[in-house]
């Protein structure tokens, strides 16, 4: 599948994968994240069950402390 991940097109060999699988493959190890797929929020409790497939636009925002 080919997806738009954080404004860059990337190709992955599976035809689809869960959000958790994507985070693992990309080595996104931050604990605090905001994830949106095609404009919709994916809640933390839905990472295991929400699937990403070809053509999806995915934003993974890493939250860091400070303010």
């Amino acid at each position: 599948m080919k997806i738009n991940l954080n404004n860059t097109f990337e190709v992955f060999s599976p035809e689809s994968m869960t959000v958790s699988e994507l985070l693992k493959v990309k080595n996104f190890t931050f604990r605090m994240l905001i994830i949106k797929i095609n404009g919709s929020l994916v809640k933390k409790t839905e990472y295991e069950t929400t699937r990403i497939s070809d053509g999806d636009e995915v934003h993974v925002l890493h939250l860091i402390s400070g303010g």
Partner: protein
């Protein structure tokens, strides 16, 4: 638009600010100076001496509740601003209740787990309200790394990399830059792009 026209437009607008620390206190003051109609400020913390390196409070306010001290400071700058202050801890169950009706919401927390909780809740419960967050402003220098970008209705201000740590404290200049950048994005949302 003249300043009089700007004030007239802003007088009917309501902005919610979640957290009254480095980002929230400075952002609130910037919006008060330009004549925002209503500010909804929420924080449960009290002012400590260590806050004064970046937060819009004074030495003689140490020990006061942040929301009450900020309301007083805003009143001294621009008494025309209506300030609704809530001395509560924001949790998923009270966020929609407190910020419903705001034209824009500003995320101004310190800790990343609080940021995540707040952003996730606003995007889920108040999806039509623009949300302006502060992300990455510890340390000093590196002006050029601070930026603003947008994902749908979510506006991100900061350098997105400088996390606080023992050798990376949040201090006035960069925290002030990001908080004023957040206020500037709020104006762009409320007044339109210039």
């Amino acid at each position: 638009m003249t300043f009089e026209e700007i004030k007239e437009k802003l007088a009917h607008k309501r902005v919610g600010i979640a957290g009254c620390g480095g980002l929230g206190s400075n952002c609130a003051v910037a919006l008060a100076r330009v004549g925002i109609g209503t500010l909804v400020i929420v924080d449960f913390d009290v002012i400590s001496e260590s806050n004064l390196n970046r937060q819009y409070f004074f030495f003689d306010q140490i020990g006061l509740k942040k929301v009450l001290a900020l309301k007083e400071n805003i009143g001294r700058i621009n008494p025309m601003v209506k300030v609704y202050s809530s001395d509560v801890k924001l949790v998923p169950d009270n966020i929609a209740l407190l910020f419903n009706g705001c034209d824009v919401i500003v995320e101004a927390f310190d800790q990343s787990d609080q940021k995540e909780m707040f952003i996730e809740t606003v995007l889920a419960d108040l999806p039509s309200i623009p949300l302006v967050i502060g992300l990455g402003m510890a340390g000093w220098g590196r002006n050029e790394s601070i930026h603003c970008r947008k994902i749908d209705n979510l506006y991100i201000c900061g350098d997105e990399v400088s996390e606080i740590g023992p050798d990376m404290p949040p201090i006035a200049p960069r925290v002030g830059m990001v908080s004023n950048m957040q206020a500037n994005v709020v104006l762009e949302i409320l007044l339109g792009i210039q």
